[in-house]
Symmetry: C2
């Protein structure tokens, strides 16, 4: 095979990628306003399944942008998702990213309760006095715990990004979140991941850049 | 919808996930010895495409395990991939993970040359006097630069994990790596990502755990 590279300047690679994605999506129906999120998930995974598995609660994009603009903080369930979020873009509005998964008190709480660290780290987040966006790309137990905390009126998240990936209780945990009144962006089914969780946060942050309203 | 959770203990979730993956793979032909890598990529993405897009150079698994056992270090092209690699498992053999993408000298070198930071960070890695595994999950320009450095006899990597994701020069950059004599694990086509790069490193590390030879 003769390999020929396309001549695209470094600064233009992302824009060109989004053009290709838009072109290949063709007439695929997307909910107006959600396109930047859907396209960035495809950009991050090269997986067009995200054009049909992403579910959005009513007006979730506006609500999410309002929360970010107001300085909401993001809680992730992996260090990897935390690493992937554009923290500079978030900091401009006063927000920070937290991941409690490696915290000793979280490990201890999980050991004591026989639960997961993801679950315990949601409890730790619930005790914070901040407006929070949860970006869950790995642990369905984190989503199940958020569901319980919402039902018990112990938290009221500004947004839940529910995109854990996998094979055990992943599908169900996402359905639970979609039963709540909390604003959500969920990748229905098995797919998702820390990369998807991070890129949805970034898509929202970059929408604020473009709007600057 | 009535949501019912499967009763699987936290410690058993990963094993159960791998059982489901094995079951659903059925008779899909996999290269003997590569199964743990293929299955972990599916575990990380819930995307069974990895059962057919992963390409392995001859005896690459044995070569990779030898390198890790000998204390090889891993260079990534994103902080996210670095965050996802099990650094404790790597440290047992003396290895470390490096990502130079945020380094000021790398940013400066990229500015000067009109190239990408990924490219400049490969140059920085090439100047290290260590046995290196490159885990590239994001930037095709990193793979293209590695190809050039190999051709110029400036590096001789122990392994290249070539799994950038995307739409511009991604496919081609992977084909270039497969033209070299360097041991490789490549996800042919557009798919891949920092999560895939990290999970391939972890799959290899966990194979060492199970073998302990």
């Amino acid at each position: 095979m003769k390999v020929e590279l396309d001549n695209v300047k470094p600064m233009e690679i992302e824009a060109r990628s989004f053009e290709i994605i838009t072109q290949e999506l063709g007439d695929t129906p997307l909910i107006p306003g959600t396109e930047p999120v859907v396209k960035r998930c495809i950009h991050t995974s090269a997986d067009f399944d995200y054009a049909r598995n992403l579910c959005f609660s009513e007006n979730v994009i506006d609500k999410a942008l309002d929360a970010l603009r107001g300085g909401a903080c993001i809680v992730t369930d992996t260090q990897m998702a935390k690493a992937g979020i554009n923290k500079k873009a978030l900091a401009r509005f006063g927000g920070e990213v937290y991941c409690f998964m490696s915290d000793e008190d979280v490990a201890e709480a999980a050991r004591k309760s026989g639960s997961t660290r993801a679950c315990a780290s949601m409890d730790k987040a619930a005790a914070m006095d901040k407006q929070l966006i949860f970006a869950v790309g790995n642990a369905p137990t984190a989503l199940v715990r958020l569901y319980e905390l919402i039902r018990e009126n112990k938290i009221s998240p500004a947004l839940i990004i529910g995109v854990p990936v996998g094979f055990v209780n992943v599908v169900q945990s996402k359905e639970l979140i979609m039963e709540t009144e909390v604003p959500y962006i969920v990748a229905r089914g098995r797919k998702g991941g820390s990369n998807i969780a991070a890129c949805i946060c970034n898509a929202l942050l970059y929408m604020l850049d473009n709007r600057r309203d």
